[in-house]
């Protein structure tokens, strides 16, 4: 059976996955940076190394993500490109057979996608401009507080007092989060406010489209327990987190080979 690679070249991170039929052989993530083609190559190489397969051993590469078209440049020699929402739907449907809706919370863009039993996209809702960069914001906030994203999530779960930051945009939310810290508010409560802010933003977007069960969550932020704590109650639906949340696009790319 042939080995295929999926590349999801996003705003912040580039994700590579290697699959043999239904089996996930290896994966790797690198920051995208400016040189998006180099990032893709690196991610691919890392993935290949972990599996011990050579570039020649690949039957084909499919790319998705915001920079997917750039991958057509040499030396990658890709088979085809596929739109984010198409890949996300395919990937989510593969990772969770009974799922019909995926909420993808990425670095710069969030979207919710409804699809049929074969993972074909039926409807999509994407965030508006003012909600851009939520993922990036989450990372920079962790940095501002001086902890890792993982730690921020754990910290938030220890919050005891409810405080809020503006639900308008990442820029003013950050400014207000720091504002709160300057008032001497406990950092756990600030971290919680940040997580809730993002969850509320995503939920607001989701209510515009009918979300068909079962609902799964993908994207880097799906790993934040603090954030996921809020999502179900906000959209009044059960959600489950995909096993490879940040790789759903890359996997879907392979599925669309």
């Amino acid at each position: 059976m042939k080995i295929l690679a999926g590349l999801d070249v996003g705003h912040v991170n580039t994700k590579a996955i290697l699959m043999k039929g239904q089996e996930i052989l290896g994966y790797s993530t690198v920051p995208t940076g400016y040189d998006v083609v180099a990032a893709a190559q690196t991610a691919l190489r890392h993935a290949l190394d972990t599996v011990g397969v050579s570039r020649g051993g690949l039957a084909g590469i499919v790319t998705t993500g915001i920079f997917r078209e750039r991958m057509k440049e040499p030396p990658l020699d890709i088979t085809r490109t596929v739109a984010d929402y198409v890949a996300d739907a395919k990937g989510a449907s593969f990772l969770s057979r009974n799922s019909r809706t995926v909420i993808d919370i990425g670095g710069n863009i969030q979207k919710a996608i409804r699809y049929d039993q074969n993972g074909n996209t039926l409807d999509v809702i994407q965030n508006d401009k003012c909600a851009d960069g939520l993922g990036i914001f989450y990372t920079t906030m962790a940095k501002a507080i001086g902890i890792s994203e993982q730690e921020m999530s754990e910290l938030a779960l220890q919050s005891t007092q409810k405080v809020s930051v503006a639900i308008h945009c990442a820029a003013s939310a950050e400014s207000e989060a720091i504002d709160l810290m300057c008032q001497g508010i406990d950092i756990a409560d600030v971290a919680e406010a940040i997580s809730r802010f993002i969850a509320e933003r995503v939920a607001a977007m989701c209510t515009t489209m009918s979300l068909e069960k079962e609902i799964v969550v993908a994207g880097g932020l799906a790993k934040s327990k603090a954030l996921m704590k809020h999502l179900p109650s906000l959209i009044e639906q059960d959600v489950s987190i995909l096993s490879f949340p940040e790789y759903v696009g890359a996997i879907g790319a392979v599925m669309s080979y």
């Binding site: 508006d128 003012c130 809020s164 930051v165 503006a166 639900i167 308008h168 003013s172 400014s175 207000e176 504002d179 709160l180 300057c182 008032q183 809730r196 802010f197 509320e200 933003r201 939920a203 607001a204 977007m205 209510t207 515009t208 906000l234």
Partner: protein, 388 residues
């Protein structure tokens, strides 16, 4: 029995403005009809005449993102918050929701209630002029008040007599006179009541049954008249701008690192709400109400003196500056509000000419206290001329 001191009465007003729903429900429990209203251009007199208590819809102050998928981002947070009150079903108990053609943003909040919060069948929009200064405006207002009256008569299944309206006019005028007297205290260097307290009492007047409110306020004023004044303030600050029902901001002004006092608020949640009276004992009651509402401090969204580019609101502001003698002015308005900044741009040069320093605070759902504190303290330092 012993007379209550001002603090006790103020506290009662405070707790009512903190839990408006609770208060409203308690009235409803006694079989009282309640109508929510979204803009202060709704003629409360007509509701009162119909035996309905008007309850102003104000913000929840909870951070709410859900409204973003019902109303565009770029409507002000006050309108979003008022829309949220409907979507969150915080006011499902109301018998009616009413508004008058207001600014577009609050109009949208009303639309959300009607369209998505289940008020379709129990709502009324009063067509109201956007330019209140023209001659034809008064006649038009009277005509659409008549329609409103007829709608209410159907709703309460009884006719509204001129007597009913005259009584209602007197009740509302009484509230306005009392509130004016209350605000007059702030003109004095050593007022027995603080600006934030006055603001809270004023908010309560928009949420309470005025028949109950008036005697309470009367009692408060009497008790204040015998109170010794509080210590004179260092710096007197006047607030001018848009709807703001967050007492936190007014308290902030009085809890700076310096002694500063809030001595006036020009906004539709404060003086613009009541700084006028409706002529009494007129034969044509609705015409009288129209005339009264035309005399108001105009809302920036409706302020246009025909034939000139002049803004009537500025005359009032200049008058208030003379009477209340602020050392500094705080422009406090909702981010995304469209009319307010159009006034600020024209008002600022006037203040500069008067040598009154000012700063702008941009309101959003949540308030950046630290930044506001810094801006306000910096304003005071500029006024005091702090220097090494």
């Amino acid at each position: 029995m012993m007379k209550e001191g001002p603090d006790t009465i103020i506290e009662r007003f405070h707790s009512i403005s903190e839990n408006p729903q609770e208060y409203a429900k308690s009235r409803q429990g006694k079989g009282q009809l309640l109508a929510g209203y979204m803009c202060t251009h709704v003629p409360e007199e007509i509701l009162y005449a119909a035996g309905i208590i008007p309850v102003r819809i104000l913000s929840s102050h909870v951070s709410q993102a859900m409204t973003r998928s019902y109303m565009h981002e770029t409507y002000c947070s006050f309108s979003h918050d008022c829309a949220y009150q409907g979507l969150a079903h915080n006011y499902d108990f109301l018998d009616l929701i009413v508004t008058s053609s207001s600014c577009i943003h609050m109009g949208e909040a009303f639309n959300v209630w009607v369209r998505f919060a289940g008020f379709q069948e129990k709502s009324f929009l009063i067509p109201y002029p956007h330019i209140i200064e023209t001659k034809p405006a008064a006649a038009f207002m009277a005509a659409s008040f008549e329609e409103f009256k007829q709608f209410l008569e159907k709703f309460v299944k009884k006719s509204i007599t001129d007597g009913d309206i005259e009584r209602a006019i007197r009740v509302c005028n009484q509230t306005r006179r009392l509130l004016k007297r209350l605000w007059e205290f702030l003109r004095s260097e050593s007022s027995p009541i603080t600006g934030p307290e006055v603001a809270t009492v004023t908010l309560a007047s928009q949420l309470m049954d005025k028949e109950e409110y008036n005697p309470m306020l009367e009692q408060l004023i009497q008790s204040l008249e015998v109170e010794p004044g509080k210590a004179p303030s260092g710096v007197r600050l006047m607030v001018t701008g848009g709807a703001c029902d967050d007492p936190g901001i007014f308290d902030l002004i009085e809890h700076l690192n310096y002694s500063a006092k809030l001595i006036f608020i020009d906004s539709c949640t404060a003086t613009r709400y009541f700084w006028f009276e409706v002529p009494e004992n007129r034969s044509d009651k609705l015409q009288a109400i129209a005339e009264g509402y035309i005399r108001r401090i105009p809302c920036p969204a409706k302020d246009n003196v025909p034939g000139t580019g002049e803004k009537k609101r500025f005359r009032f502001i200049q008058q208030f500056i003379e009477e209340f003698r602020p050392d500094g002015v705080v422009f406090l308005y909702q981010r995304f509000c469209s009319p307010q900044p159009m006034d600020v741009v024209a008002l600022k040069p006037i203040l500069d000419k008067l040598g009154i320093p000012s700063t702008e605070l941009e309101l959003d759902t949540t308030v950046p206290i630290t930044q506001f504190r810094t801006q306000l303290e910096a304003l005071v330092e500029v006024i005091k001329g702090v220097t090494p």
